[in-house]
Amino acid sequence: MISDEVKKKIRAVVGKENALDSDLDRFGYSYDSSFLALLPASLPDMVVRPLTTEEVSAIMVIANEHEIPVTARGAASGRTGGSVPLKGGICLSLDRMKRIIELDERNMMVTAEAGVRTIDLYNHCAAKGLFFPPDPASWKMSTIGGNVAENAGGMRAVKYGVTGDYVMGLEVVMADGTVLTTGGKAIKNVTGYDLSSLFVGSEGTLGIVTQALFKLIPMPKKRGTIQVMFRALDDGCATINAMLQENVVPAAAEIMDKTSLDAVARLRKMDLAPDIEACVVIEIDGEDQADLDSQTKRIKAVAEKCGALSFRVAKTEAESEELWAIRRTMSSAVSALAPNRIGEDISVPRSEFPEVVRRIRKISEKHKLTIAVFGHAGDGNLHPSVLCDLKDPESAERAHHAVDDIFDAALAVGGTLSGEHGIGITKQPYIVKAIGESGVKVSKALKQAFDPKGILNPGKIW
């Protein structure tokens, strides 16, 4: 509970229209895009929407003084409950902070506030021929602050890495309201600890990221799309591995199993040959058409050696769109197969991709649940989707056991719980298994140092 007196102080900072506490508004900021139950709702006591770093700092001073929990939120497009205000208090919604502060073309860097949408940052840079590669599937709505706090990945990670790989510096408001600036535009920088990296993926538990400085790269001049069909998922994985070993690095390499393909085929009225068990969609980019043609030729040779059934190169922009639409509509198409879909986000060493998929097949049989598998085969990050009915207690129990087994399988092959969604609330029970007691102990010590009163996004990660 926040007393009326404190609410008054908060309103004085952000203005009364930006401090909401009606039941309906509190409900609106109680959820994210995870499969956590909507009800009972984790209601914040107040939704606070600052416009500037100074306002964020002033709010943190008040929260720290009165020990009010503060959970940062952007577009609430997260998949693990990271922005859900589990312990009430303040939902600090940063979506009004949407200025792109500077595009430094000479250094190829951009500074943006936390509430800037990923797609807007991409377009802003693209207009000047610069490329901001991280492309989480939610890039149309997700915000930069959330991307940094969850270290969001995306389809281009195989060639271009994840959000954290582009962070050069951050502006962070600490639990007590101190404004910290980390990193900078110097490319080589070993002055002290690498503080920026501590906040990347910290899920709002160590500080509130208000601004980020990212490095950019030149925009690839040409892009092409290839679709390859396989008789077995293993053949698809083998193709991707062989490509990478031969130094043909695709900008994206996505794999889909038969269950996923059937789901899309049903919605998009596609006909699939009966012997197709897997589909790989590849994006390549390069300097010019000749560059693309040479990559295509090498990929084709590799794919054929690995037993490809068909090899299709998109000839037009529209055809390329059509091939990617299959992948982009996958989550929804798979969701439509059952009342609920628990979409997971495990990440394994690339070599173990086929093995973990084989294990997931067995888990699916063991628990008698359909598990669709698709994901970023190029970087070993896959999204097994457990299809179930959470309203049916028996199905829900089987689903939760299946998820447990999937995490065990990922850890057994040397992988981890999350590639790009974070731990939040939904993966908490597995954290000790993944990073060990010592990992949790060191994390807690860090947390204690940064946030002694434990007001920043309490109840998350472990």
Binding site: L20, S22, D23, L24, D25, F27, G28, Y29, Y31, D32, S33, F35, L38, L39, P40, A41, A75, A76, S77, D95, R96, R117, S138, K140, M141, S142, T329, S331, S332, S335, A336, P339, R341
Partner: protein
Amino acid sequence: MKKKNDDQLLQEAREKVSQCDRCGTCLTVCPLFGVQDVEKVSARGKNTITRALAEGGLKPTADVLAAANFCLLCQTCVTNCPNKIKTDEAMINVRQYLMDCTGGASAKYRAVGWMMKNRGMIKFAAGMLSLLRKSGLNRLFPHGMAPEEYTRTHFLTAFAGPAALGQQTVTADVPLTATTKVAYFQGCGMKMMFPEAAAETVEILKTKTQLLVKDNVCCGIPHLAHGLREDFLSLTKENVALYEEADIIVTDCASCGGALKHAASYFTDDPEWKDRVAAFSLKVMDLTEYLVKTGYMPRRKVDATLTYHDPCHLVRGQGVKNQPRELLSATGKFIEMKEADTCCGGAGSFHMDYPDISKKIIEKKQANIEKTGASIVVTGCPGCLIQLNKAAKASGGKFKAMHISQVI
């Protein structure tokens, strides 16, 4: 038909939104969220409110009703949603549910609903309007409800003058099948506010067919949208009975067309009316659909630059997108505007209920129209036309707004 019980309405709404996985795609497309970015305004917010209401997480309060009413029903979220969640339909159900359990529709909606149910009142209002217009008093009317109509005569005087002379007069080239009975459905908005445009529609249709003109009642969409579902159902039945002899029913109002085409889905559990309404819904066509199908050529070419605003209930509600553009391209120089299919903020009575928000939305539309340099913005819905008239006025004469039947 037995009145749907409230719980059933709410459970239906819950079912409609149950596949929302809260991804937030709708946040980026909702025109209302674009001008007021708090969660409850977005489709995601409305979907979760619906679920919480049905599952006991929220009480049916005035706040919740206000949130449900604060929706344009423009379906932009539905089109862009990966799971195609029908938030608009859910909102119609939730409004009805809340009206019923908070003591019925507000006096305002009841009054408007009564007037629109009543043929005599619609005619009286139409008469009043032309009187207002003649006297110039329409300038005093609030919210542009009494627009100054820019007529085909004005249009031809301006754009079919010397510059357009010497061009061939285009005539219809497709023969009509003698047996097709085509009827006109005249919406209240067209009758009350744009009688000249409605007259043009009739004239165009008469070049194609021996038109049946019926004394129809309101399509019922204003009633359905504001918790007067029973009125919607009885109006639909009246219209169904009235048009039984027609093979095709053509309307020049996007909202009427949408309501009539979708009427069947509200009668699926009514054994007596189910088949009759289904047959009726299948006969309905938008004016532009009918004209393109019959190979209509514009009455004359004009030397004007035209742009087109897609009414929500035509482009998303009925999937009619190319036909108006085809007709306009055959008439003058057609230029596509940016975000042509974004709601104009009119949305039935929304622009009267929330004038400030509506103004912000139409201002964006006005800027997009001005960027095309077109002298006329054309549309196919009287609701949109009210909004576009306001934009035209605010533009200080840079462009005029017209119904498509006045242009082609």
